[in-house]
């Protein structure tokens, strides 16, 4: 009985805070837009009966998504930005995590602290700070002009480059922490054993360090990719009019167009797209847990 209660708590949490809202969104996505409050029909009426209610639902909004190229271009744009950002986050995060794991023992808590430190300020403020850095009169351009590297200010803000910078910066800790955890657990004598058996430093890294930190890499990539895919704040603040990401489209449908059913359909499709990597991530975690037993 106590065990049942213990298991029931997280399930109840998921049911109330995830499944029920999702079903509501799903229902709205199957409804029609209306000039009303809330701006869609039908609403469930006991008097009309369940069947009458369901018969009014249709997939019209999903069909609409396929008719306008904006939507699938936005999905592809998000996918591309999320993938490329994940690669860059890995390329930058892995050496940082490696350096942390190799640092003297007494330094590590400080380094860890420095990685987590940005979370102490609001995410929004940090993204605004990047606007100050990347804008035409921003710190970066001022510095580059002052040092004579460039003569004309670079246009970075309101381009995809700024979005990449923003995403990589924001999600870097999510890459560093799992990779660091994997590297930190690794027995240093494994590298010595590899060298002893004829590996150069580089091959030892490639044949031992990388495979043994694989779980950390996979976890980090998913932790970056999944939220980056639906990212809305960074592209709308740092990106330009040509930055096409599905999060931004979603926001505009909801708040500018007030077309909740189409917005909900966009959200449902996004979720379906993300379910694949989420399930792969879950499997990776599970395999890792099994391997550690």
């Amino acid at each position: 009985m106590r065990r049942f209660l213990l298991i029931a708590v997280p399930y109840a949490w998921l049911l109330v805070l995830f499944l029920v809202p999702f079903l509501i969104v799903l229902k709205i996505s199957l409804s029609d837009a209306a000039l009303a409050r809330p701006p869609y029909t039908p609403h469930f009426e006991w008097a009309e009966g369940v069947w009458a209610f369901f018969s009014q639902l249709d997939f019209e909004n999903f069909v609409f998504l396929t008719s306008d190229s904006l939507y699938w271009k936005a999905y592809l744009g998000s996918l591309q930005i999320a993938l490329i950002s994940t690669v860059f986050t890995l390329l930058i995060g892995y050496p940082i995590a490696y350096g942390m794991a190799r640092a003297p023992e007494e330094w590590r808590p400080t380094l860890m602290m420095l990685v987590i430190l940005p979370f102490w300020t609001s995410f929004l403020i940090r993204v605004y700070a990047w606007m100050g850095i990347l804008s035409k009169e921003g710190f970066l351009n001022q510095f580059l002009l002052w040092s004579g590297i460039i003569n004309e200010p670079l246009v970075i803000l309101n381009t995809n480059t700024a979005v990449y910078i923003g995403i990589v910066y924001t999600y870097l800790p999510f890459m560093i922490l799992p990779v660091y955890a994997a590297l930190d657990r690794m027995d240093g004598s494994l590298i010595e054993a590899a060298e002893d058996l004829g590996c150069s430093r580089l091959t030892a890294f490639w044949l031992v360090t990388i495979p043994l930190s694989r779980n950390g890499i996979v976890a980090g990539c998913f932790l970056v990719f999944i939220p980056a895919m639906g990212e809305f704040v960074i592209p709308s603040l740092l990106g330009g009019s040509r930055t096409l990401m599905i999060g931004k489209v979603l926001w505009e449908e909801f708040f500018s167009n007030r077309d909740w059913p189409v917005a909900s359909a966009v959200a449902v499709v996004l979720l379906l797209i993300l379910i694949v990597p989420i399930m792969l991530f879950q499997r990776n975690q599970q395999k890792q847990a099994e391997a550690e037993q």
Binding site: D187, E192, A194, E195, L197, C199, S200, T203, P211
Partner: protein, 375 residues
């Protein structure tokens, strides 16, 4: 010593496989290895023995190439290996933690070094199979290290380090993680494999029993110095210092002053109220020089009556008995409080033991039983 016995260190013509020449290693201010000169010969099973922090692991890591020397030269087969990287040395190491690659199977672990050496596939398969057979691991070849027992992991580590047929195999506390029974079996297995492969083994251990069992020669180390390098029996029977006598096995150390009575015979005055002890020694001790007499407990006889014609005999009473099953160690207290240990084999059942607590007894030993050591 028999002529056919393996003892290259006694042959001045023999060329050593490894030569440490005035090797010093410092870590900052700390001197881990202090000017050591040592020869190790091909096909030896050489043990570096000492308490933790004595420098034995540093010696091994210098041989493997993981530590640079501060001063001196290490030669392997006549070549200075001071600046040769670990992956370029014909030396392999078996790590204390085994350091098996957890993401590879037993088979792949053993093949790892051979693959790096670009061995052709057919030869590689044969070599791995041969190693699996040597270490009786055929049935486990497709398992991952976490799916086999500690003893099996130890054998995988051994097979992996032997696979490349190194000139020299280093073993860092190879049996440390095994329980006692398995350790004893594995000791003989190690010796067997060493003999079969003809590889030179250098083993690091803090377990003197292990060193004595497996090694052809033992180097006893303390604080970065070699205290004594000799065969196990010489280390035990003829320790050259109080440190070695005390470190290896159990010993009674009696402090006194020597007085020569000719022909390598000495009288040791050790207590005013008691007659001097007699000992033979080849040490040139001057009269009145202070010395230690080291006697192993098993060389001290214990009797109820004073034995007739004993060269050395003292009286005391049994203070304590350590019952070890096959042996009993009697802690006998002399009149002045000195405690001398005497060990006897329990050839009779315990209920028929001759002595018990508080019994007055006589301890006796011959003139050659003890070893005279300079203080």
């Amino acid at each position: 010593m028999a002529a056919n016995e393996f003892a290259p260190w006694e042959d001045p013509q023999a060329k050593p496989l490894i030569r440490f020449r005035n090797v010093t290693k410092r870590f900052g201010e700390f001197t881990a290895i202090d000017n050591i000169t040592l020869d190790i010969y091909a096909q030896e099973f050489f043990a570096l023995l000492g308490p933790s922090g004595c420098g034995k692991t540093t010696m091994m890591r210098m041989l493997a190439g993981f530590e640079n020397l501060t001063e001196g030269v290490i030669e392997l087969d006549g070549v200075d290996v001071g600046n040769v990287a670990p992956n370029k040395r014909a030396v392999n190491m078996m790590f204390q933690s085994y350091a098996l690659f957890p993401h590879l199977t037993v088979w792949e672990n053993i093949a790892f070094g051979l693959r790096r050496a670009k061995m052709p596939a057919a030869d590689l398969t044969n070599r791995v199979e041969e190693m699996l057979k040597l270490t009786r691991l055929e049935r486990f070849s497709s398992r991952k290290p976490h799916q086999i027992s500690g003893g099996q992991r130890q054998r995988v580590a051994l097979a992996r380090s032997l696979a490349k047929a190194p000139k020299l195999l280093l073993l860092d506390e190879p049996l440390g993680a095994l329980d006692k029974k398995l350790r004893q079996e594995t000791q003989f297995e190690l010796m067997d494999i060493q003999e079969k492969t003809g590889t030179t083994f250098v083993i690091v251990t803090h377990d003197q029993e292990e060193a004595m069992t497996v090694a052809s020669r033992v180097a006893v180390m303390d604080e970065g110095n070699l205290m004594q390098v000799a065969t196990p029996d010489r280390i035990y029977e003829n320790p050259n210092s109080v440190y070695v006598a005390d470190f290896i096995g159990d010993v009674n150390l009696i402090k006194g002053t020597a007085k020569s009575i000719g022909e390598g015979q000495y009288q040791i005055n050790w207590m005013e109220s008691l007659p001097p002890l007699n000992a033979k020694s080849s040490l040139p001790l001057s009269d009145g020089q202070s010395c230690h007499l080291a006697i192993r407990p098993e060389k001290v006889a214990i009797n109820a009556e004073k034995p007739e014609g004993a060269v050395n005999a003292v009286q005391g009473k049994v203070l304590d008995i350590a019952y070890l099953g096959n042996l009993s160690t009697y802690y006998v207290q002399l009149a002045d409080g000195t405690i001398i240990k005497a060990q006897t084999a329990n050839t009779r059942r315990i209920s028929r033991r001759s002595f018990t607590w508080e019994d007055p007894v006589w301890l006796s030993w011959t003139a050659t039983a003890g070893v005279l050591l300079e203080s």
